[in-house]
Symmetry: C2
Subunit: 419 residues, 2 copies
Amino acid sequence: MGDYRKLWSDLGMDLEKHDQLCAVLPGLFSDTYLNQENRPDGMNYFNFVFSEVHGLRIQELDEHKKKGGKVIGTFCVFVPDEVIFAANAIAVGLCAGSQFWVEDGEKVLPRNLCPLIKAFMGAKLSGTCPYFESCDMVIGETTCDGKKKAWEILDEYVPVHVMDLPQMKREKDYKMWMDEIKIFISKMEELTGNKVTVESLKEGIKIANAKRRALKRLSDLRKHKPSPISGLDVLLISQIAFNDDPIRFTEKLNELCDELDERVKNSSTSDKKRILITGTPMAIPNWKLHSIIESLNADVVVEETCTGTRYFENEVSEEGDTIEDLIKNLADRYLNINCACFTPNHGRTDDIIRYSKEYDADGVIDCNLSFCHTYAIEHNEVEKALRENNIPNIHIETDYSTEDSGQIKTRVEAFLEMI
Amino acid sequence: MGDYRKLWSDLGMDLEKHDQLCAVLPGLFSDTYLNQENRPDGMNYFNFVFSEVHGLRIQELDEHKKKGGKVIGTFCVFVPDEVIFAANAIAVGLCAGSQFWVEDGEKVLPRNLCPLIKAFMGAKLSGTCPYFESCDMVIGETTCDGKKKAWEILDEYVPVHVMDLPQMKREKDYKMWMDEIKIFISKMEELTGNKVTVESLKEGIKIANAKRRALKRLSDLRKHKPSPISGLDVLLISQIAFNDDPIRFTEKLNELCDELDERVKNSSTSDKKRILITGTPMAIPNWKLHSIIESLNADVVVEETCTGTRYFENEVSEEGDTIEDLIKNLADRYLNINCACFTPNHGRTDDIIRYSKEYDADGVIDCNLSFCHTYAIEHNEVEKALRENNIPNIHIETDYSTEDSGQIKTRVEAFLEMI
């Protein structure tokens, strides 16, 4: 990694504390990723991006800002990147995946709260996330009580605009969501000084769709038996998708997929169990569950999560002649995401069953971050549906600490033996 | 208590399990309530109602049902009773306040969840709440993730209609809430076969307003030093307000207030500390915190909670000539409630500061049920506002078990010594 200390210092970061983070991350990455055997060559790009995640990409953001551009931080797959692209701003996912930030988050948040929320708050409060420090605005959403209320505190440190996501999917909720997208467009126009036009929004939609298509292509490749790529590698790619330049990312991912196309032609057999993971998102560098599963005789072949299928399934229609048309297209695609924040949310169980078949999964691990009420309660419905379809499954609730890793490994091991 | 075993049996209740509940409740009530000194005579009515809470009132519901009437269960101060009254149905608050039901609730819900939600689920699953068993429909709302998702499970056992409460208070959110009230009216008309007319809705509004006025009158009496009534007694009255016949309740409460009017004329002095409680609701028979506080040298003089001021503050305007007018009046009053489910919710901190002054509170106890994210996170803002106003305060998070009672008592004792 180059020397970015001046850049970090200019951003107002806490260099000393950030050094502590930089001291542990490469080792964790190396232990988790670089020891894997037979990785595709195309992963080198993603390894590089990760190694430069607090460096080169931040420098790109800095250059964009120096030219008057804006940087928008997001945390959720419901915030339409298309609008951010259309306003010529850069969208970045914010730091939220490490135990490193939890303690600082607990200074202003209750301990009985999802680690993702505590981590993003701690990342901001401790000044150790260069993405946060590069942000001109953070876009929140009302997908859960924890985040909804945490934005109020975060807003004291960085401007936050909250999109009110409907909690149901009735006709009137679609209209309400279109309205929220309109408000979001105005907000972006105001912040960037750039008008969102039919052309620029269509261009934004095209960029986002191309990225979705590449991620879907990667996902489809995992249907091969054995999957030509580890679940860990796909997870890393998904996490990087939230921060990298979308056009470059898409190009590099398609190159990797070209390589994987060749791989599957010459694939051998494998006795590894095929696992579908469903549940809450895994923000970088949360590789805990994949790492445990793939250290055993199993491959993660699909993730029905926000860092999985929910992020890339279904494209936004590019048809339409007015902003109104395009907003409707956006609302249609985004409200089609089956998040546990909706009531009811039967679409998610349908998805899990469908993916289990499409990816020929031997079992499902329903995993949610601790204290995530929506996913934890929805497990009841998920479990019932899987049982009715004779799909073996277990439920894991965990946070970012490593304290329960041994216990989870034992449970997953027993599960793999059973299926 | 009379013999209601046939009635309970006809309702399909689990008599054996219900007997276990009946075996402990009177003792708990007697220890908490009947040992208080110098109680107003007017409390006899409320003692009686409590002693008959699973008896005489259930018989009344039964008689109403035999005449073709409907019974509607609710859990939240956002569900407009006025509409239920207008459809000639009876509104009852449902069982949700005892540890007795938690274990059964945990059979289908995660343990890391608010005890109120686990308790109502357990009360239904165990068949030990005669109100639940008398209900033709339960009206849920989207005030928190826990309840929002729990309705989905509850709906498997009793029909549930969910009102989608907006999460903000912008102009468009008022319109959305009016829309939800309209849907609720249709639902009630469909269920009861009774049309909600301008006249019947106005009558419903009058009944609810009269009840609010009586509760406000009681509350205002507590501004006297010393308060002419214990916080425990007021809590019981508030809890009964959710289940008793509203017209009789109002009449009896006004009689009690007449007696208290006389009391305050002859009041002595008191060195007891005056405490404002703010936070989450206290469902019957959750008397834990009041009981601890008033066992020490202190009086609870006001509750900024859903079983306190949020339930009765602000009346619904009775003006208007159309259903649309009245729905707007309802929306105005209900969206004026400052629940932590809204973002932002500065109105609540304003209320707490204002009440602290109006009731001359010596200190504030901000208390939320375990795992209640919205109130737990909002504590950050509450604490800051109280500190800026030099109002001493502590934060308590607790559930329905008695395990932490000793610890809470020690903390409250230290707090009272400090203020």
